[in-house]
Amino acid sequence: MNFIKSLRLPLIFRFILGIVFIYASYEKILDPIGFSKNIHNYHVTPIFIENIIALVLPWAELIIGIFLIFGLFLEGTISITISMLVFFILLLSQAVYRGIDVHCGCFSIDANDESTNFQFELIKRIIEDIIFLGMAYVIKFNNKFMNQDDALE
């Protein structure tokens, strides 16, 4: 147990998640128009909010990434991180389920045609997000215990 503690997993996870979020935000901040088109391709949002999401979400990712790395406002940051990851997992899952080719936003014509490759990509991203979600929970519970320890002291 001490060995696991000595690994400082929550700290490592915070850095990993932080870098992932900052990296994910970078291109979207530079190209909100392209990101808005991507959002459109998922066919889940009403058109009028697509640009707002494309503008705000990347900044939220950047801020969360920075806060995770520096350990700022950790309680709120980790809650938003978890909500976002759950949202992404649901979004990607519905795309796989409905057979949407998110790349061009087209539904594939035949159920078993060439889009299998793309489905595989989506499933890979879902698995990644589930791993990140696990990391986020480790950080959350560690943070909770630390706060309890502080309170006890």
């Binding site: 909100p32 391709n41 009028f48 979400l57 969360i64 406002f73 709120g76 087209c106």
Partner: protein
């Protein structure tokens, strides 16, 4: 200073919104609005092709078939090459919108005064519209039409 979790969340959301709105002032695109408007493309309801169109226009399956038979238009498939290879409208050329930069040589060789119809994977697919915009606005083609039904509708009708 210790902030409650709720306050921290509100702080992060407010910060993100402020930066996002601020970012919108630096977007050089007249068509970009914070509240996105649904784009309504004009439709051609006859079989004749208007001489002076002011933007890409939408055409029906009947229109596409009529002009396909007369060979009066050139079809452009905006899907990926893999999709194109699996089946496309007879005589159509392939310019995948996702890689249009790689196809600049082919685009430059095309006669920009000819009439083109772009299509992709049906109404849920936006590649044909994106490609039409690109050809019309950036490459200054005279007449770009969009067949929204695309390959699925064409294939379903049993057309070549």
């Amino acid at each position: 200073m210790i902030m409650s979790k709720q306050k921290q969340i509100i702080l992060i959301i407010t910060l993100s919104f402020s930066l996002g709105i601020l970012r919108s002032f630096f977007i050089n695109d007249q068509d970009f609005f914070i509240i996105k408007k649904e784009r309504v493309l004009e439709q051609i309801n006859t079989f004749s092709i208007p001489n002076d169109i002011t933007g890409p226009m939408v055409v029906s399956l009947e229109f596409a078939k009529y002009h396909h038979d007369k060979s009066s238009v050139i079809f452009i498939d905006a899907r990926d090459p893999e999709d194109y290879d699996k089946g496309h409208i007879q005589g159509a050329i392939n310019i995948p919108y996702d890689y249009y930069e790689d196809y600049d040589d082919i685009i430059d060789e095309l006669d920009d005064s000819a009439i083109y119809i772009t299509y992709c994977n049906g109404e849920e697919c936006s590649l044909s519209i994106d490609l039409a915009d690109y050809l019309y606005n950036d490459k200054l083609f005279d007449t770009i039409l969009i067949f929204e039904g695309g390959w699925p509708e064409w294939k379903e009708s049993g057309y070549p």
